[in-house]
């Protein structure tokens, strides 16, 4: 059984039972999962976690759905790669890449959807649904297939072919919406209100978002139960950013970090900050959709919505639901907000691929370019332990890097090959 005590409004603190709810009836604020940490602290240990499955469900005590029979396609427990080559280029001697592009449906969304799908099945829903520009649709369709339930995915009608196929292969009911971004958004919100479906990022949102905490847990575990000094994280809604921070603080408060004493969570579980958590949280957004970073740079406490116009479509959330909470995490952690010019996104993808053999999507390009900015500005010092989160696979956004294809065109003879090779070598000289 999950150690969940209920849901609580993040704004007015009203409490609700752990049901399929996403906003407070009174103030319409977002609902967050509340845990019984006293009981969790009695059962959880690093040893117990290490004996769990090689997926996010090894942290089942800290997730809001039962790990006894999860909808699990083995999301999570992805590699944490030491990145010496990229580090050398950037002047960073202690750099790691959290490569979440190798999840089963090729993005970090498998973490959140695995939790949401498990909870949806627990609640008795027979349809799993979402509105998505790519990664989420793939993951929802895949997990619904695994759970043996129906899935309905809403996508913009102009979505890239690779993403459409990547979701369609799992057999969902696919709805291609012909409209502007705002129209698609409004329609899906209405559908969510009118159909008895488990919409992962609407009525399952409180549970769904918790899956991102595992990105924090895994990095800590893979570093030997310690935290990095810096993390660089891409942001769309801001939810993942806040949940990584929450994950770090949960581990600290439960006494799971090496040499860190446990501490009470206090009255507000979602804003607790253990003094031993000194990781600086750096946010990366592309220039064409950077509402949270813009607010941080202007010193605002509110996030002004924007109309997205970015090649990093998986980060193109113009009105981020968790924007103000992510903003608070940047400030509380002493981190920063980083805007990456659109023209630098592909450079970031190439740099990671050419130095570490990891092919990421556009969101990862944003992260690597932001990391470069942070290293060049001295915000990250050469020997500081740094983790860059790569959350999606490059095969999903191949259109962005089509220009890299430039093969030697040869006839099937050795002389033709050698001639072409010497020409290319001469050009490179």
């Amino acid at each position: 059984m999950p150690f969940v005590s209920g849901l609580k409004c993040r704004e007015c603190s009203r409490e609700y039972p752990a049901e399929a709810l996403n906003v407070c009836d009174f103030c319409f604020g977002p609902l967050e999962v509340e845990y019984d940490y006293d009981t969790i602290s009695e059962v959880i240990s690093a040893d117990r976690i290490s004996k769990g499955p090689l997926s996010i469900w090894r942290y089942q005590d800290l997730l809001p759905a039962s790990g006894e029979n999860p909808v699990d396609i083995m999301a999570g427990y992805t590699p944490l790669l030491k990145a010496p080559n990229l580090g050398k280029r950037l002047g960073l001697n202690n750099l790691y890449i959290k490569n979440d592009s190798v999840n089963p449906s090729f993005s970090f969304k498998d973490r959140v959807v695995s939790v949401a799908a498990t909870k949806a099945v627990e609640f008795g829903f027979e349809t799993l649904a979402c509105a998505s520009t790519g990664n989420l649709a793939c993951s929802v369709a895949a997990h619904a297939a695994r759970a043996g339930i129906r899935s309905v995915v809403f996508i913009p009608s102009d979505l890239e072919r690779g993403k459409v196929i990547g979701a369609a292969i799992y057999g969902p009911t696919m709805v291609a919406v012909d409209g502007t971004y705002d129209e698609v958004n409004r329609l899906c919100s209405e559908v969510g209100d009118n159909y008895p479906w488990a919409f992962v990022n609407i009525n399952m949102r409180a549970y769904y978002a918790e899956g991102s905490k595992t990105l924090g847990y895994e990095v800590a575990e893979q570093l030997g139960w310690r935290l990095p000094e810096h993390v660089v994280v891409p942001s769309a809604s801001g939810a993942m950013f806040t949940k990584i921070w929450k994950g770090f603080n949960e581990l600290a408060c439960l006494g799971l970090l090496d040499g860190v004493a446990a501490m009470s969570f206090g009255p507000d579980q979602n804003t607790v900050h253990h003094p031993a958590v000194t990781t600086r949280m750096h946010m990366a957004q592309a220039e064409g959709c950077s509402p949270i970073v813009t607010a941080w740079k202007e010193g605002q406490t509110q996030v002004k919505p924007v109309r997205p116009n970015s090649i990093a479509k998986s980060l193109a959330i113009g009105n981020p639901a968790d924007g103000i909470y992510a903003l608070r995490v940047i400030n509380k952690s002493g981190g920063s907000g980083n805007t990456v010019p659109e023209s630098d996104v592909v450079d970031g993808i190439k740099l990671l691929a050419e130095t570490e053999g990891v092919f990421t999507e556009t969101a990862g390009g944003v992260v690597i370019s932001a990391l470069k900015q942070l290293a060049e500005s001295g915000a990250i010092k050469p020997d500081e332990l740094t983790v860059a989160y790569i959350t999606g696979n490059g095969l999903k956004t191949q259109e962005a890097v089509e220009g890299v294809v430039n093969p030697l065109m040869v006839k099937p003879t050795l002389s033709s090959f050698e001639e072409a090779l010497s020409e290319r070598t001469a050009i490179r000289r």
Binding site: E11, C27, F28, G134, P156, C188, A236
Partner: protein
């Protein structure tokens, strides 16, 4: 009758306009503010609207036409 939960975001030039008053006066819509934060340069209001479905749609189209941004409560639904 229909009920919708929406968020209006006002830029500085619209903060002084009585948009919610006119929405209630010019359309057959009952407005009920639940949460708000209005500053000099930017403001948002989360509210519930009660009325006929067509009238709410007409009213929200008018609000959008004034330059005020209209979103579902809880931010964007569509995700990456």
């Amino acid at each position: 009758m229909d009920r919708q939960r929406v968020k209006f975001t006002f830029e500085s030039e619209m903060v002084k306009e009585p948009i919610i008053y006119r929405l209630g006066q010019d359309f057959h819509i009952v407005t009920n503010i639940r949460r708000a934060d209005v500053r000099e340069k930017l403001g948002w209001v989360v509210l519930e609207l009660d009325g006929e479905k067509e009238e709410i749609e007409r009213g929200l189209q008018w609000v959008s036409s004034t330059g005020v941004r209209v979103d579902p409560v809880g931010g964007d639904v569509i995700a990456g």
